[in-house]
Symmetry: C2
Subunit: 449 residues, 2 copies
């Protein structure tokens, strides 16, 4: 049932651009959804893409532009005139328009806004630009359907018809008082069933969730998910309704957040993608690798200090990668569970009960793994006391690693730092050093070198 | 502006449950949103929670039940009678009702369905249960507003009023032919502006995206995100409209998917949460730790084979945790980027160009890190040839680790296996072994032991 952008279609479009067959291009692309047009455009080079954007109706291209990768969109916009950009903006929802303007160099942005014919719209975009990026103000759009509490149902339907022209999708009808303050919302069902002369004040639902312009995006996402909202009204500090955030914008936000945590856990510090340049990828990856390097050099130091054990117990040194791996793995597991629990707000109970639980967990895993090590030692012809030493020190390392992995994110979170930075390389590296030190220290206690 | 569930409120509810003050409990909880009621319930013990569910109106508790953790909900349902569960189901959307029934033991599930008074609803639930869990059929609800293409706008509004009673939110109005086949959709705007006598066939939008009942949930999420849809109709294999999936259900799905990848990357094999039992957490974590253990024991073997180097170059052995850490970190970084790229469908270009890129990337990082190692060696009083050997072998290890991290997910993906399993412990462990072997092998080539 689904339409697919095929290689043949992309080739056809490229060929038509080559011979500049405007009529045929318009015919071919007319029936195609803007998201698919965006997919086609992302397969073109810059001059082909620019040609197509200039050619097609801005009703279609404005939406397609929003689906493109930011970098590519910026480069296309560089090739468009101030007037052409303004035309695209006229067709966009105000939140998208503001995002595009924010990507432009300041001087050019001002010129573009000056070119927008609809003054009201230009004002709206300027207002949206004044809010911080990841707040409700920065995420919201100005398009919404609002009615006054003093109107009748009939007047309301008339006014809605007018307003609905500008709004692509009616999520909710918001009710405001004469000063524009948010009073409640109107359900479509009530509007359909109430008689024409009823006053809105008699039928509206006075309880409505809202956020203020400076509410953090993360909090907006949390509220919308918790209460299963598709749109949430945004008010200013005087409770005046100024915009609304819709769930489709939040889906991207929620996904980006989840991806950011995943990338942090994998040791990538910036929001990169597989197709970014080698330079961008290196900048995102190298810092964590250098951190890992320092951790590794730390363990070199520790082993230099335990060098004396080499004469009698050189096999101890063969086990260091194993100990480091166990410390790292256990730490990452513990921290990932806690970080996710903190993000979803389901880490309950006292710190002490969590401590007991983590120790219980590590004891079970550590003892199981210890038995496997002793079995390995048996088949590998190792001395029993030696195998036992490895198993015991590994057990201690696992317990400490689990505690570090659990409590570092909790402490960071309590101090208002994003606990996700504590997953991945950070935990792995510190646990490597701790682990190897502890391993040799306990081995020394038991074996006495 | 936002309502917050406070500790005082929870205490008040607990106290009221203790003295069984039904009137007061109803008063206190009446004004509170079901999502907040769910938050309160999750703070109660099983008998308190059961008491509250039985007490409150099922209109509220049915929604609150859906917000609870699955385990807790199951245990509460065990305490309810078949009739009580059926009453809850009457108030739920069909998709939620089917999810709840699916959690019950088979025999009890049949009894519950038999108790549902609305026969149509019971049939709907049975139908939904017949679809596989993560398909459009398993995700959809039966509630939707549909109109026949032969109707007039006036008849349509009349019919919509009737249907809207059952549907909490009207997402779209779907148009079907006399056999129930999906023909298109109707925009609210058109309905508001068209004259009462117009036939639906003249105003409906004939193009509508849809999925079939057996479309995978991941594909449904992709289509809805790509085309910014809030709801998508689901058809059977005869194109008959059978249900619709809404974006709020997909938000959970998208989040779960992202969390699953994150957990796989962190070496947790099942969907666990911080508050699960020690036993469940161990089951999810131990398999990856055992994998890591075997990897570590593998490196023990490798080092036993290079034992001869101990006499002249014992410092080599001090560097093994560093090498293992670098191989692991680089591998996880590369695989995370690719896995995310594959998930978002933006891994473009040939395998060869990707190969060149990864080698370029690893060269830059490897050389930088190598210089740092040589500097370290200088201050640590190491022999220059020795430092150089470490740097060169580390560089080779980094290149190989990046290639393994990049191409293993790509190969898995081509073979239809979820590439996310290749991140985390899997890549770390195999890169540990590869890395340490390569490190000693290259050191042997240069230093000649």
């Amino acid at each position: 049932m689904q339409f697919q952008v095929t290689d043949e279609l992309i080739k056809e479009v490229k060929d038509l651009i080559k011979i500049e067959d405007e009529t045929q291009l318009n015919t071919v692309l007319h029936e195609i959804h803007f998201a698919d047009v965006a997919e086609i455009i992302s397969e073109l080079n810059l001059s082909q893409a620019t040609y197509l954007i200039k050619l097609l109706d801005s009703e279609k291209t404005s939406e397609a532009l929003m689906e493109l990768e930011e970098d590519f969109r910026e480069r296309i916009l560089e090739n468009l005139s101030v007037k052409e950009i303004a035309e695209e903006l006229e067709e966009m929802d105000t939140d998208d328009a503001a995002d595009v303007v924010a990507e432009l160099p300041e001087e050019r942005a001002e010129k573009v806004i000056a070119e927008i014919e609809d003054e009201r719209r230009a004002e709206d975009i300027k207002e949206l630009l004044s809010y911080a990026e990841d707040t409700a103000g920065g995420l919201m759009a100005k398009e919404l359907v609002k009615v006054k509490e003093t109107w009748t149902v009939a007047g309301c339907v008339r006014e809605m018809r007018r307003q609905a022209e500008k709004v692509t999708r009616v999520h909710s009808i918001y009710v405001v008082d004469k000063e524009g303050k948010l009073k409640g919302r109107l359900s479509l069902k009530d509007l359909l069933t109430a008689s024409a002369k009823t006053h809105i004040s008699e039928v509206y639902i006075p309880k409505v969730d809202s956020v203020t312009v400076d509410t953090e995006g993360e909090e907006v996402a949390r509220v919308m998910q918790k209460y299963d909202l598709e749109a949430i009204p945004v008010v200013d500090h005087d409770e005046v309704l100024v915009g609304r955030v819709t769930i489709d914008d939040m889906v991207d936000f929620i996904k980006d957040e989840a991806e950011k945590d995943y990338q942090l856990a994998a040791g990538i510090s910036q929001d990169v993608e597989a197709d970014d340049s080698v330079w961008e990828l290196t900048r995102a990856r190298l810092p964590w690798l250098i951190l890992g390097l320092f951790g590794g050099l730390g363990s070199v130091f520790i082993m230099e200090n335990f060098e004396v054990a080499l004469t009698k117990y050189r096999e101890l040194f063969f086990f260091t990668p194993l100990i480091a791996a166990m410390a790292g793995n256990v730490g990452v597991q513990s921290s990932a569970i806690i970080v996710q629990g903190l993000a979803n707000d389901n880490v309950k109970g006292s710190l002490f009960s969590r401590l007991v639980k983590e120790i219980g967990l590590s004891l079970i895993s550590g003892v199981t793994l210890g038995i496997l090590v002793i079995l390995f030692g048996f088949f590998d012809g190792m001395d029993l006391l030696f195998s036992f030493t490895i198993a015991i020190s590994m057990l201690c390392v696992i317990i400490v690693a689990a505690l570090v992995g659990t409590f570092v994110p909790i402490i960071l979170d309590k101090r208002g730092i994003d606990p996700a930075i504590a997953t991945g390389p950070f935990i792995t590296t510190s646990n490597d050093i701790f682990g190897i030190f502890l391993f040799f220290y306990i081995a020394k206690l038991i074996l006495g070198f």
